[in-house]
Point group: D2
């Protein structure tokens, strides 16, 4: 049984705890800045609440480390985790700024960065993964157009907007990672458009709530990403990959197979899944299992800190494109905007 | 150009006229008991209004005959048409009673009966035909269960009920023919259930408005037919063929690909097609083309008076099953109930 | 925290254990005829393995009892459980014979029988429940036709067939319960048809593998149930409720929203869920939560031993109908066939 | 009965002839540069083949004029038609160059230009029209994102490419018009991306075969258009309008409601409609009826030469954006690129 040290005892830690128990692993130690939170989670999982992160990670019963604390503490815990030489999974984002992400990868080196599993959990959604695997298996021949739609059910609280880093860094970052993982080629340009039409207050805070990005890949594939901070009918999360021999689509799964036929609504499907814990719940379980498999075998992580850096780089470029009102030509993650 | 004599100048005659013009044929003569009706249709099609059916059929410019008059006149016109030796298409039903249908086939003989195209036009619906062709091509292996659902949008006028012959002879007859054409085996038993719950007045007139029939085919295939005289969401016409290797379904086509997503209706499709002229419009065209092909080549008709008789026989047995409250074991069209 | 005594330590006990942990309850005691099995499950749940069922049930830490042993032991454990006066959930079937079911209800009385939660877990499927709730809420007006399709992905092992009691008692029993719960009226007749066409060996053992049942409810509603022991495309579990104002359908949910468009397959959906643990997994959780709610409040169980008896009664009548080749008119559970 | 002069006797003229006959109108005169073609169509419609366009238009039996000749002759015939003062319908495009379109509108004036029905027939597609009408009726609140996908089943012959004007002017022009008609606001910028990855030969000829355009409307609505010259699964024509209160989608209609369920393809729909005459066939009929209604009432045409000019303007801007590799800010149809 693989022993886990978990950093954080909040919502994501609890989500992961359930997955760990079903994956031939157990939580050995828990650290949380609020000791009582750590102790409560420890009580229901048979773990030990540790007084410090370093001590929690160092415990000999610990074979792997999971970082599920607030975003602004990720990178400092990652430096500690990397020092132990143990496999580590970190929730996204890698760091709270792009510069800090670049610095992390530069400091630990590419080899160590590839041992850090970065929790872009949408990669593990069954429908999205089927699109990626189908494209890579050549089921639609050469990929030509990739369209990703991500819309949240409702905007974040206004007070969150200023510290979010803006829509591209906070929300579209998932889609940048998804695009990279499906296309499998370098992007050569990014063009962003945005409006604040969901809530003008978001615009006053300097952000947009409705956005599109077009990216051109080095082989001519055209990537389109559509985002909105609000969607009346739920959590709209779709991918459409079009290629020479067909199209693969990941549509919104529904709550059930219930359908209503009446005079006025002659075929109404059940609601789509509401938000990320419902839609991506099974993805977390799949993610934890994959992390534990890689950890046990000492493999590079299939989604890692380099991926985190590259997604952050595209978000940075999109932010610059919107601000400058022009297409940004990409030269690599050392590019300044 | 094949010359057609058309009996009748009403709605069905006009529907067929449009199909004829597109099928390398023309209407040569028209007979209708109301001469003005014949003349009006003649004027817009370049045909000649004939004073009698016999004279219309006999015209040397006539290569084939179509009977589209009221149901109670079909069989007498058929006797005349068969005498000419020309290919003939007759709208369903063959005759206004089962006995008259039996007598017709007995009188003209099986060979002549197979030269009479009987207008079970649902056979030519693109979705239904795909089910039949798929079953016959072995796409689902051995057929095991066939389920046919037919529901009209609204019940007929009450005054029509007494002379309709009852739901099984008037409405389910299409489904009996469809079942025969898909299963391709003799039926060995019929069990009918019925209620008058759409409109109790229909029950007072001795008929049902909601019914199911189960038939067992000689090879053990189970056929289920569901009928209703009223359907709130339109003309519900579906077939489901289940077999050893899968299932083929003909669903209700919709008016368009329009779909609405709102908070309360997160995925509502466009209405289904409303009634038979809309749903089965293209089927009439396909039917006429097939009739003309067979007529030109002198072939037996793929759906003919024998099929009309056999469907009427099953309707007769279902009517008896409901009345007697028991399963009817089938011995053939000379069976008395 | 509600303490549970669980009878059995096999697959269903483990499925329930996961649901219990998430429902503010814990497993206090476990009994299994194989003590090692009880001890293994006890170790991973913090429960105590008890040496006998009676002792496990009697423990003062036990507030409610769950019976998840093999079918042939249900009824004797139920007698013991009822004696304790504690709420009890029993997996279906109530007993291994219809007579034993009748005797149980007669012996303990109707009041006690209503305190026994009977695990017809399909009632808790999200799609199926939406149909039932919609019908009861009047969303389609008066119910007129109810069609239930249940097809297993593959037939049971041949050695199971003789002790299964036959398709109607073993498999269609779920559909009889579903029909009762949706229609909410007494059934007045049952007509069964069946074939052994999936595997003729099943026929040689005296059973059928393909079946349909038509039931007429006291208010004229027509119920159709279609069963097959084998389905090439997965676990086919659908309900269609048709009424005066529309139709409610519970379709097969799919594994994801993945859809493929190619030249030969221009729109292929992801597979449906494969079998009952995948399809009805969330239903078990919902069932356990409802049982615990009722147990805590001392309420009658919404699906109980009376329902178990009535479903067994309909299965008995269907078995008799098939054997006798005729419609069975229903008089109540004291009817002999 | 409205009398029509039709210019051209080719494929589109024949398509329109069928619609005219069903719309209480008749073809009075036909002009075609190939007299035999005019005479053949005249023979089957009762029209008169006229020796010149001017003479055909001038006939006193002519109430309205339809121009269905080759694209390069449209504008000169339009000048003649406008002189007659009779209502005129012209197939798109207005003229074979953007400059010629501008000159036409400038010459005849805006009032006359609004009397010229321009045949953007996709506006009359039932699904697309439902999206437009739903948006205008406020069914999704404020429109925020509009996404139009248009993909042809296969690329045009290579020899057509040089004289097509390029993908934006030849193919995407329909989508520019659709976007304008749905959004109902001026566009303020156009950004185009394109690749030649379907067929590199197209790239060598200076055109693209895969393209996307992003337009920003004056109110912040973001419009995305995706085009491809080749689509393996048919004629992919979809619209998605997303707004504050929901989403309206026009999906690809299918050839029938036929669906196949097998082990490997557990739910495969019938093919989508193959190309424009099949997909947009009913749209032509609707277009002709609307034109005749407007003609009889002397109204401005709801889609007219001004719309033709504006769509050509957007196509011109997109072409410039691709060539210059930058966003084009729009100032109006007198803008030079």
């Amino acid at each position: 049984m693989t022993g886990i040290a978990i950093m954080g005892a909040g919502r994501m830690a609890r989500v992961h705890a359930a997955s760990i128990i079903g994956a031939d692993a157990h939580i050995a130690t828990i650290y949380d800045p609020v000791l009582e939170a750590a102790e409560a989670l420890a009580a229901s999982t048979g773990a030990r609440a540790a007084p410090s992160a370093v001590e929690a990670m160092a415990d000999p019963a610990v074979d792997a480390i999971m970082i599920a604390t607030s975003s602004d503490t990720h990178v400092e815990l990652l430096y500690e985790a990397v020092k132990t030489g143990k496999p580590v999974l970190c929730e996204k984002p890698l760091a709270s700024s792009y510069d800090a992400s670049r610095e992390f990868v530069a400091t630990v080196g590419e080899a160590a960065a590839r041992k850090v599993f970065l929790g872009f959990n949408r990669r593990f959604d069954r429908g999205h993964a089927s699109v990626r695997e189908g494209v890579h298996a050549g089921r639609i021949g050469r990929l030509e157009q990739l369209t990703i739609t991500s819309r949240d059910p409702f905007p974040p609280p206004l007070e969150y907007v200023p510290r979010s880093g803006g829509l591209f860094r906070d929300m579209m970052i998932h889609d940048f990672d998804m695009a990279r993982s499906i296309v499998g080629k370098d992007m050569v340009s990014v063009t962003a458009h945005g409006s604040s039409i969901v809530d003008p207050e978001i615009g006053k805070l300097g952000d947009v709530d409705t956005a599109s990005v077009t990216m051109l890949a080095e082989d001519g594939t055209i990537v389109t990403i559509l985002n909105s901070r609000r969607c009346a009918f739920g959590f709209d999360q779709r991918i459409e990959a079009f290629g020479a021999e067909g199209m693969l689509v990941s549509n919104n799964p529904r709550q059930s197979g219930f359908t209503t036929y009446t005079k006025d609504a002659p075929g109404t499907a059940a609601p789509i899944l509401e938000f990320f814990l419902e839609r991506y719940g099974p993805s977390y379980t799949a993610e934890i299992r994959l992390f534990l498999d890689c950890a046990r075998e000492g493999r590079d992580m299939p989604v890692n800190a380099i991926d985190g850096l590259m997604a952050a780089y595209l978000a940075e470029a999109a932010t610059a494109s919107l601000k400058q009102g022009k297409t940004i030509h990409l030269t690599g993650p050392d590019q300044e905007f």
